[in-house]
Symmetry: C2
Subunit: 156 residues, 2 copies
Amino acid sequence: MKDQPPVTARLGEIGLSNFAPYLMNRIMGRYNASLREEMAGLGLSTQKMRALAVLAVIEGPSIRELAVYAVVEQSTLSRALDQLVTDGLVRREADATDSRATRVLITDAGRMAFEQLWPHMARTYAGMFRGITDDERRAFVGILQKMLINIRKHEI
Amino acid sequence: MKDQPPVTARLGEIGLSNFAPYLMNRIMGRYNASLREEMAGLGLSTQKMRALAVLAVIEGPSIRELAVYAVVEQSTLSRALDQLVTDGLVRREADATDSRATRVLITDAGRMAFEQLWPHMARTYAGMFRGITDDERRAFVGILQKMLINIRKHEI
DNA sequence: CAAGGATATTTGCAAATGCATATAAATCTG
DNA sequence: CAGATTTATATGCATTTGCAAATATCCTTG
């Protein structure tokens, strides 16, 4: 009777550079830092930028939904929105049917601000995938979509 | 003469759910939140946990190296280490040849603490890859490794 | 080998963060 | 349908964060 291999390998056996969460944290750390540097001049924090990017694509989500999409704590987002409203980049609007809820909408100025920073995001994105074929990228994104469904807590 | 397609698609055209950085931020946000919840009881922040995980695998890095591996700001790490030292989980040791530098080493207690939290990490990791074949995972990790090389700033 | 600049780490400080809670409104339940 | 529970958002507060600057040491170059 031989020993069975352990169900879960130890981290040392996998190796940091084969451990997907480690690699993903490293990559996103750099991606976010790189954007942050570019946006410091525009007065946009990572959170504000993310909210703006989501709002450029999703029309009028509730604050709770926006927090999920933008991966920002709800209380943090609440305050980031205060600033974005002050800057005139987004506006809050009472939900028509649920008077607890607030919908968030990007303003024209907000859209212009996003158009300004999108080239940076696109360039960083392109840089990430340098030397990776379209087929590989598609397969990669397919896996990411599965992973998000596996791990996500919210149904959005 | 027809218009050429734009070199960089707009975010709305790609769609949030096909935009790799968005998906990766969402996934790592959940991954980190999930670990944070499990570790709140152990008194370990994300930063402290990451430092410990790296130290469990990499022997005696300098603080600067550890900051890169753990994806933590150097000044933040400096303070996180203060706490880890107080908790007896790591120790600082003067570099033998460069007296500016400090090497960080995990203690036995630190290793035990990491052994305690590794099952959580492994379980979350396994959950992420549910329904994804080994071949797919290997290809996925291969792409991540390329991406890290593409995007990284430091040669480690 | 004496500046002058680069590198490693820490620390001051203002701002950001996140947990817990407050408030208000919707929904459920007997 | 009244009271209890859940949901959406905002806010008080202690902690954490990160940028800058300080400190100490190392390296380079004339």
